[in-house]
Subunit: 305 residues, 2 copies
């Protein structure tokens, strides 16, 4: 049986505007995208909070993906809501509103059955909450953390403390330089590793990602080329979820496994952007994942004998 | 014997300011970088113009790389000069000055011995001059053109005319969208191919490049990760030069050869940025090119069996 992965993060109802249209009250948040993506690769234990307004249909998405929701707290009040509008260049977006609601007083509580999970993914939330989860797991064999510029700005001390307790850090190239104070990726990653994590994955969106694993040469991962990106929301969370799902399934965290996880994360995340919200990500036939991985292999195959 | 490649473009004396320092009167221009890079892979015939002030030491760089300079015109007056200042984020730069000088009245004249060259590279200059070169070659088996936003803005008709006469177009992602009027790369490339070129290479700087060859799946090429980028000037020209040098050396332009050319262009260009101007590019031991190609293979090797 595959190892289990516990995912903690946010669950939101998103209002999304992109050049391709709009959608309201999509299931969003870092934990949702990460859990859906991970669920194709390993059993997922979810830790998050929603309000009593969270629709039953939305909740059923987690059931469809066999995500364990014993750790999903339901609190009297409104679910966290986020609204965003993407530019023509969908690498840029403006936040229209952020209503924390029940998320404001959230403290993650792990059900007893989750404590022995072998893999832990601290998806993007306040680093103090990420630490609270680490304190509730027994002895996970692999822990990873994702973060964002907001926490580097307003909760840097908490973030640095959490970095001392994890195996792998996900962040994008700008965040790597912001958090390290270094001007290029190689120096930034050296500085970040000195803060704790043995491995760092630098996410570059449509340009792929780079893995700096413990003591190994970097590994550069290109992405598949999509005909059309409808909604980029959640792609980074889905990448990390797919990555860690593969680490759970593999039962180890060797350099080889982490490189394979880069591929699985990339492939799983690529579907996320093809429809609004998690619509495409929650109903993927397994053979489509396999087929797209084969496309990725072909379009990046080394051309020399 | 390898096929010969004729390179036409600009030769400049560059004044460069980067976060790593400054340098004056470096040999620059699209033809210089492309010719130096191509020279590691095939015999190069150079077509360009300099002024009587062009230093003998600068001229000797072409001799060191065995670039044929019969087509290098020397005209009474000053060489083309360009000055630029790079930001902390070296993907951005400001032009400080552009003095066309002898370049203003330049019309490329191919020596008779160049007319039978098998491969033609129209490096970045005014598209009307690129056309003049095409009219002077006999029957090249492969022709390629590089361009920039300036010509899309001020000489679009000439550029579109030239696109009708070439096999392969190099440009960056923003230029692809600007020239095609399309909002994503896939649609942009389809529109560009409809203008003439059978193949399009979209350059993405530090993020690599993508080849859209005739009738084939795209090919995505990541780059090597450099510890330090000292001066990005000329990297795109060197990429194209290395690419076409490989096409000349291979004697064909199959999809396989073009994919290999993506690797050779990437590897050759990677050295360009490590020192100011072409300093590193003109004195590369061949075994360093081979060693870096091997690094690129390793850091991007498919991790599944």
């Amino acid at each position: 049986m595959a190892d289990r992965i516990v995912v903690v993060g946010s669950i939101a109802l998103d209002t999304l505007h992109t050049p391709h249209g709009s959608a309201e009250d999509c299931v969003g948040g870092s934990a949702s995208y990460a859990a859906f993506a991970a669920s194709y690769h390993a059993p997922v234990n979810l830790v998050a909070v929603v309000g009593t307004d969270f629709p039953q249909a939305a909740r059923e998405l987690f059931g469809q993906r066999k995500v364990d929701t014993e750790g999903l707290e339901v609190v009297e009040g409104q679910t966290f809501r986020w609204g965003g509008r993407y530019h023509e260049d969908m690498n840029r977006r403006d936040t229209l509103f952020t209503e924390l609601n029940v998320f404001e007083d959230f403290h993650p509580k792990l059900p007893d059955s989750y404590r022995s999970s072998e893999v832990v993914f601290l998806a993007n939330i306040h680093p103090a909450l990420q630490m609270e989860v680490l304190e509730q797991v027994d002895a996970p064999r692999f822990t990873a953390l994702d973060t964002m510029n907001l926490w580097i700005d307003i909760a840097r001390d908490d973030l640095v403390k959490a970095l001392g307790c994890i195996d792998l850090l996900f962040l994008n190239d700008e965040e790597a330089m912001q958090l390290s104070g270094e001007g290029n990726i190689s120096s930034a990653v050296r500085a970040l590793k000195a803060m704790g994590p043995k491995s760092v994955v630098v996410k570059k969106g449509e340009h792929g990602a780079v893995l700096f694993a413990d003591g190994n040469e970097p590994y550069v991962q290109p992405t598949v080329l999509l005909e059309s990106v409808v909604d980029p929301t959640g792609a980074g969370d889905a990448f990390a979820g797919g990555f860690l799902g593969h680490v759970a399934r593999s039962g180890d965290a060797s350099a080889e496994t982490l490189r394979q996880a880069m591929v699985q994360g990339t492939v799983t995340a690529s579907f996320t952007t093809e429809e609004f919200g998690p619509d495409r990500l929650v109903k993927l036939p397994e053979q489509e994942i396999d087929a797209r991985r084969e496309v990725l292999r072909r379009i990046s195959a080394w051309p020399f004998a």
